[in-house]
């Protein structure tokens, strides 16, 4: 099997795991959101890689082009990016509220305070 034929998918897995690691191993809530963003982008990269056809071109119809890449993943991811920024901002708003209530955004300190 050719190494290059699956390179993109492996990169996706690595990125996804790096994001996952940040989410579970870092205690800072904003850092966790950044990790979640990396995870999310890795999914985007996966979809777009699946949609690519080698030798194809962007799916804007034109009479002198024969082969196009798959437009369907593009549609899904295009909307997902904007939804992603909207949901990230909800997350950030929650973080701000947590900061207002606990005076900290470190997971440990918040847990300690809520135990008392």
């Amino acid at each position: 099997m050719d190494i290059l034929s699956h390179f993109n998918y492996w990169v996706v897995v690595v990125l996804m795991m790096l994001g996952f690691f940040i989410v579970i191993a870092r205690g800072n809530l904003i850092k966790k959101l950044i990790g979640l963003n990396i995870f999310q982008t890795s999914v985007f990269i996966f979809y777009i890689s699946t949609g690519k056809v080698i030798g194809g071109s962007a799916p804007v119809l034109s009479s002198d082009i024969q082969l196009y890449s798959n437009p369907l993943p593009h549609v899904l991811i295009l909307t997902a990016i904007v939804v992603g920024i909207a949901t990230t901002s909800v997350g950030l708003a929650l973080v701000l509220r947590i900061y207002r209530a606990y005076g900290s955004i470190e997971q440990d300190e918040i847990l300690e305070q809520s135990r008392q």
Partner: protein, 330 residues
């Protein structure tokens, strides 16, 4: 050449993500995140996903790092050195999951093959017939706004709901409403004259370009989502330089809040119109006698609704965050 650039960009992406794992300090992380966004947009260009790259460019270059920066400005950029860490457990969990996923990819069809199952089902029909059925060269636009308009309606409602959620979360406890600024204008010791002059020349171009993207989306990359983000970016730049009270005088918060609902309403009413004529929801054929013309009108109206909602929700979110920033910062 294309594949080589693909490999280099992906390696840079992995490097950036690894640096994000290692680096401490939130401002540094935000800057690396913005580099990560730039890299992934370049990657999308290489993968022929022009519209996706466009969206990522508009979101990743302006709004996304900015919201993170504003939150960090309220909270403080310090990141505790070893909080919540059970690194061994985390490494083990991540390693096992990653290994399983890699084993899973081995069954995937090779990258870029034209006969992969993903390319055999609906996509050929879109590519073959969408030109005749809608008369719109950009397949992504016609799929987004016509063939899969139900999905898009869902996404627009999600964005609208996110805007409402941000208002509710951040407004409670202080005062009613999202962004009625009650702080005096920020008195900066030195006004940013150069920045203000340059931005004043560029903001009109941003807004104009947003309209170009909105209405040119049928023929090239673009559409309501991208246009909304670009429009909001222009407004946000103005707000950054002149302060929240100034921008709230230009565009009053209740107006934006109303507009974010208006976009969804435009979208929904288009669907209801076809139901009133006895056709299925969001069937555009009732909008004109000629079916192609009807499709084009429907797609234009819907993209307009999307653009209005996206732009105003992002502005609403900016107002809410900037309000926190300016009241807590002073």
């Amino acid at each position: 050449m294309e594949l080589a650039v693909n490999i280099v960009l992906l390696s840079l992406l992995v490097t950036t993500a690894a640096a994000l794992v290692l680096v401490r300090g939130l401002l540094a992380s935000i800057m690396l995140t913005s580099i990560y966004g730039l890299l992934s947009a370049s990657f999308f260009v290489i993968m022929d996903a022009v519209d996706v790259a466009f969206t990522e460019a508009a979101v990743g270059a302006g709004v996304s790092p900015l919201l993170l920066l504003l939150s960090v400005a309220v909270i403080g950029r310090h990141e505790a050195r070893n909080a919540g860490a059970r690194p061994l457990f985390a490494v083990l969990l991540v390693g096992i999951t990653g290994a399983l996923l890699i084993v899973g990819t081995l069954d995937m069809p090779a990258f870029g093959r034209a006969d992969a199952p993903a390319h055999l089902h609906v996509a050929p029909r879109y590519l073959l017939l969408s030109g005749e059925e809608t008369g719109i060269p950009n397949v992504v636009t016609s799929v987004l706004a016509s063939y899969r308009a139900y999905d898009t309606l869902g996404e627009v409602i999600v964005i609208f709901t996110a805007g409402v959620a941000v208002i509710l979360i951040l407004a409670s406890g202080t005062h009613r409403g999202s962004a009625r600024p009650h702080s005096a204008p920020v008195d900066t010791k030195d006004p940013h004259t150069i920045l203000q002059v340059v931005s004043k020349t560029m903001i009109p171009f941003m807004l104009l370009f947003a309209f170009y993207v909105q209405f040119h989306g049928d023929y090239g990359p673009g559409g309501g989502f991208q246009a909304g983000v670009i429009f909001a970016s222009g407004i946000i730049l103005y707000g950054l330089l002149y302060g929240l009270p100034a921008i709230c005088r230009v565009i009053r918060p209740p107006v934006v809040e109303l507009c974010s609902a208006l976009g969804v309403l435009v979208y929904g009413v288009t669907g209801i119109l076809s139901m009133l004529q006895g056709r299925p929801f969001l069937d555009y054929s009732v909008l004109a006698d000629d079916p192609i013309r009807a499709q084009q009108i429907g797609i234009m109206v819907i993209e307009l609704g999307v653009g209005i909602t996206v732009a105003s929700v992002l502005i609403v979110i900016y107002y809410a965050f900037a309000n926190q920033f300016e009241t807590n910062g002073n």
